[in-house]
């Protein structure tokens, strides 16, 4: 039976999810240099895969420390996410202190960063099996070029910065594109079945309902 654990960065409020099966794990969005690693250690878990929903730094700030601690873990993300996380503007770290100030958290120290390339990338929808589970990674550009939703076993969807409770999709940050969102991501999100468990990149997980979809115009 898989456990899905969540660790939330108190500063940028990003969620890291740890999908645990036995003593092995898949980490989605290591959002903090210490938090996700501490969670893994506390639970005695060893990550085999690190997946990213997109390239923004509040979703991968802990990627390099986690790679250092667990060098066998394979980093997998979309090709545009891979390119974006290596660029301080596209990964937003160049403006993160400004962003946090706008979010009411002035004075935070958040220096620009870049990550080294992913171990594996995909350009089209990518399906992987892991310890009896299926993970389907679907590129959904719009919020960023590298945005991806990750469907676990057909019932749980990790959405990154899509379907965040109470927040409209932002497509105006560096690399974002409203036209591509409308053409690619929005139709895919519109087709999601009610009942799906949504694990967003920020905020609490919830069950998708038609009412929720309506609030997003889906």
């Amino acid at each position: 039976m898989m456990d899905i654990l969540r660790w939330t960065d108190p500063l940028a409020e990003g969620n890291c999810y740890v999908c645990a099966e036995g003593d092995r794990a898949v980490v989605i969005d290591p959002c903090h240099p210490e938090g996700p690693a501490s969670l893994l250690e506390e639970r005695g878990l060893v990550p085999e895969w690190i997946l990213l929903t997109h390239e923004h730094c509040d979703h991968m700030l802990g990627l390099e420390p986690l790679r250092h601690k667990y060098p066998e873990a394979i980093v997998l993300c979309s090709a545009p996410c891979d390119a974006g996380m290596q660029n301080k503007y596209l990964n937003m770290s160049a403006m993160m202190e400004v962003y946090l100030t706008f979010k009411g958290k002035p004075g935070a120290h958040y220096p620009p960063l870049v990550c080294s390339p992913a171990d594996q990338t995909f350009a089209e929808e990518h399906t992987m099996t892991w310890r009896g589970h299926t993970l389907r990674l679907t590129p959904l550009p719009g919020h960023t070029p590298g945005s991806t939703c990750i469907l676990l076993d057909r019932d749980t969807l990790f959405t990154g910065d899509y379907l965040i409770p109470g927040e409209a999709v932002i497509t105006r940050l560096p690399g974002g594109n409203t036209e591509i969102y409308e053409r690619v991501a929005r139709p895919w999100l519109s087709a999601l079945p009610p009942g799906l468990r949504i694990c967003p990149g920020h905020g609490e997980p919830y069950a998708l309902t038609q009412e929720v979809k309506d609030t997003y115009g889906l």
Binding site: Y89, A94, M95, F102, P174
Partner: protein, 78 residues
């Protein structure tokens, strides 16, 4: 292209305003120049002039005219 032309072009393309609007353009003075627009705009400013603005200067960049003063601190003369 001169620095002033590059500077003006950034405003014109980012916010889709007219050249005659530039002298009075201010942060939050138009819908496109909100906090989200500001972050993308400042990223483009840094890339265009190959500078790295401090967080305080990004936050202080509150108008077309104020921006000129701030860029001057980084050796960008307009």
């Amino acid at each position: 292209m001169s620095n002033l032309e590059k500077y003006d072009k950034l405003f014109l393309s980012s916010f889709r305003v007219k050249p005659e609007d530039l002298p009075t353009l201010t942060y939050r003075g138009i819908p496109a120049w909100d906090s989200v627009g500001h972050m993308e705009f400042m990223s483009e400013m840094e890339e265009t002039f190959k500078i790295s603005l401090s967080t305080l200067d990004v936050l202080d960049f509150s108008s077309y005219e104020k921006g000129k003063e701030i860029l001057a601190k980084y050796g960008v003369t307009l």
